[in-house]
Symmetry: C3
Subunit: 277 residues, 3 copies
Amino acid sequence: MPNATRSRFTANGLITITTDFGTRDGYVGAMKGVMLTIDPTLRLVDLAHDLPAQDVRHAALVLRSACPRFPVGTVHLAVVDPGVGGPRAPIALVAGGHAFVGPDNGLLSLVAAGLGRGAARRIARRGPLARFLPAAPSPTFHGRDVFAPTAAVLACGRVPFSGLGAEVRPARLTIARPRREGAWVRGEITHFDRFGNAVTNLAGEHLPARRARATVAVGARERVRLVETYAAAPVGELVAVVGSDGWLEIAVRDGSAREQSGLATGVPVRVGPARTA
Amino acid sequence: MPNATRSRFTANGLITITTDFGTRDGYVGAMKGVMLTIDPTLRLVDLAHDLPAQDVRHAALVLRSACPRFPVGTVHLAVVDPGVGGPRAPIALVAGGHAFVGPDNGLLSLVAAGLGRGAARRIARRGPLARFLPAAPSPTFHGRDVFAPTAAVLACGRVPFSGLGAEVRPARLTIARPRREGAWVRGEITHFDRFGNAVTNLAGEHLPARRARATVAVGARERVRLVETYAAAPVGELVAVVGSDGWLEIAVRDGSAREQSGLATGVPVRVGPARTA
Amino acid sequence: MPNATRSRFTANGLITITTDFGTRDGYVGAMKGVMLTIDPTLRLVDLAHDLPAQDVRHAALVLRSACPRFPVGTVHLAVVDPGVGGPRAPIALVAGGHAFVGPDNGLLSLVAAGLGRGAARRIARRGPLARFLPAAPSPTFHGRDVFAPTAAVLACGRVPFSGLGAEVRPARLTIARPRREGAWVRGEITHFDRFGNAVTNLAGEHLPARRARATVAVGARERVRLVETYAAAPVGELVAVVGSDGWLEIAVRDGSAREQSGLATGVPVRVGPARTA
C-alpha cells in the first residue's frame, strides 16, 4: 500500500503529452484545449505523437526513456489505448516525484518501475474530479474526456493525487529478460527507433568486462562488431553499439538496420567473450 | 451585420496553429518566429501540422472538432491555402468568443458556424496592421507574412478585431447533409482519421431511438454491427460506432477500416430500424 | 577573431528545437526534459523534427529560412548529427544577436552566415559547463547530453557564451553558386519541400529585370513558365515561381513537382532573357 513518501507529488505546472494520435487529426489539439480550459497557465510539452499506432509496448519504452529526464513535479499524460471503453481502468500513478496519467494497460508500468516504488489510483468519475469531467465521457476518447482533465487538475493542484480514487495495483507490461547461457547472455530485439536502429533488452552490464573483446551475435550473424559510436563504424556495416539509454543496439551507420538486414522485434541477440580464432 | 456581441473578442494570449505544412521544412517555424517577434510572451500551441496537403475540407473538420475545446479568448491560426496569391481574401473571424485567422476558402466556416453567429473581417494591409506586416508580403506564403502577424496582434491586443478591415461575408464550405429515405437516413463518409476510421456526416441523433436495434449499411455491406466502443468489437470486424464528436464512424478494431475494406470518402452509409430476420 | 560586438548575445528565454529525430521515439522528449530540468521557466518552441534523416544540407537550409524570423536573444538548438561521437566538435555560435548550438558539421553555417559575421566557440565539457553536463555523456546522443544542456544554460544566462570554450572557426557547408553563361544564369535544385516544390539556388535577382519576359529552363525542359503565384498556374502545369524566401522554385499547382516530373536535387535550372519566337 502506498505510504506518504511513495505517493508524494508536488506539481510544477508542466504536462508532457505522449500519444499515438499523429498530427493529421484534431485529437491532440482537443486534449490540449481541454487542459488549457481548466487552467490556461499550464505549460504543455509535446513529447511524441507519432508512436506506432496502438503499440503499447513501444510507447512504454519511449516513456521509460524520456519522462525521467523532466523535472520532479511534472505530470506525464500518455494515451496509447487500444482497449478504450473496455474493462481496462483509467489510472494515475506517482513514482519518484513524477505523476503519470493514462490507461491501465501496462503503458505506464515500465517508466514507473524505473523510478522506484510508487503508488497508483483508479480515476473515479465521482468525487472531486466530477466537476472537471464531462457528464457523459465519450466511450471512444478517454484521452480527451478523462485523462486530459485528470492531468490538468493534478498539474494545477486542484485535486490532490489522493483524491482521484481508490488505490489499485496497476497492470504490468512484461519485457523479456536476458538469460545466461554458459558464458553467453541471450536477449532479443525489443523495438526499432526512427533511424531503423534495433534496440535490445541487453544492457551494458551484460557485456563482458573487457568490452573490446566481446562477441555479439544477431540472429544468424555470428560476429557483429561492437563499436563505441556510429561514427566508428564503416558506412553500411551492421554493428552493435551501447545506445544512449544503456541498451545494446544493432545499427547500420548512415543507414537503417531494420531495412537493410531483415531484423525484426524478437530476433535473438547474444553477447559473449571473444572467440579464439 | 455583426453587432457588438457577435464580434466580441478578448484575447487570452493563446494561439493555436493548424497547417498542412508538415514538419520537415521551416514553414511552421518561420510563422512561430514572426509571432514571437511581435510579442515574445505569446503562448503558441501546435494543433496539427500533418493535415493532408491542400485538403481544405479535412482541415475544416479538424478545426471544428478541436478549436471549441480551447478557452474563450484563444486565437486560432489556420493555413491550408492552395489558392494563396489568388483572389481568395485573407480574413479573420470571431465567433463564440474565439478568433480565427486564415484564408477565406471555407477553412474556417465549419468551426465558426458551430460556435454560433459570428462576424468576419477582411485583413487589410493598410491601416493599423500596416506596421506589423512586411512591406511586400510574399505572394506564396501568406501564412508567414499575413496570417501569423494578424494572429499575433489579435492575441496580444495591439489591434482590435474591428481594426483589421472591412466586414465581409466569408466563404462557406458545403458538407453534404444526410437525407431521409423512408425509415432510413442516408449519409456518407466525409473523411478518415489517422487510424483509418471512416467518419460520416451522420450524427448520433440520426440513429433510431433504440440503438441496439439499429441497422447500419455501409456501401454494399448490408449489415454492419453498431457497437458502443472499439473494445466491444471482435478484432478485425468492420463495425459502426458513435465517435467522440458524436458522428457515426466505421471502424475496424485494432485495424484500419480504410485499408481493410476499400472504403473511400463519399461512400454512402445508411442507418435504419432493425430488420425482421 | 570575435570581438565584443560580433559575439554579443542576451538571452530572451526562448529555445527553438530542430532535429531529424521524428516524433515516434523519446529523443526529442529527453532533450526537452533535460532543458526544463536546468530551468523550468524556459520556453521551448518546436521548429521541425521530421527533417530528412541525417541530411545536414536540408537541415541547414531549413535553419537559414526559419531562425532569423525569431526575436533577437533566441537560442536555436539544432541536431542533425550523423557523425556523433566522431571527430566533429560540439559548438555554439553567435551571429546577429541569435545563438546556435549543435554539431560542427556545417549545419549551423548557412544561417549564421546570413546573419552577418559572428563568433563560434567549441563546447568544452570542463569549466563552467561541467556541472550541467553528465559526467559521461553518451557517445551516441550528444543532443541530450551536450547540446540540450548547453542551449539551456545559454538561454537562462547561467553560463555566458564566452564561457563555453575556446574560439573556433566552424566548418562551412558549400552550396553551389549560380554561374553566368552568356545571357543566362545557371543554377540547380538544392532541395524539395513537403509539397514537392523544388527549391533552387537561383535568387530573384538572377532573373532578368523584366521578369515577365524571362525564360526558365529546368533540366531538359526548355520553357517553363514563370508565374507570380501558384494560383496563377494552370492545375498540373510545371511552373517556376519566386518562393517566399526569394529563391526560384519549380512547382506544380495542386501537385508535386518532385513526383510528377522526375526532378531531383542537382538538376540544372537556367534563367535567361525571352527568346525570339
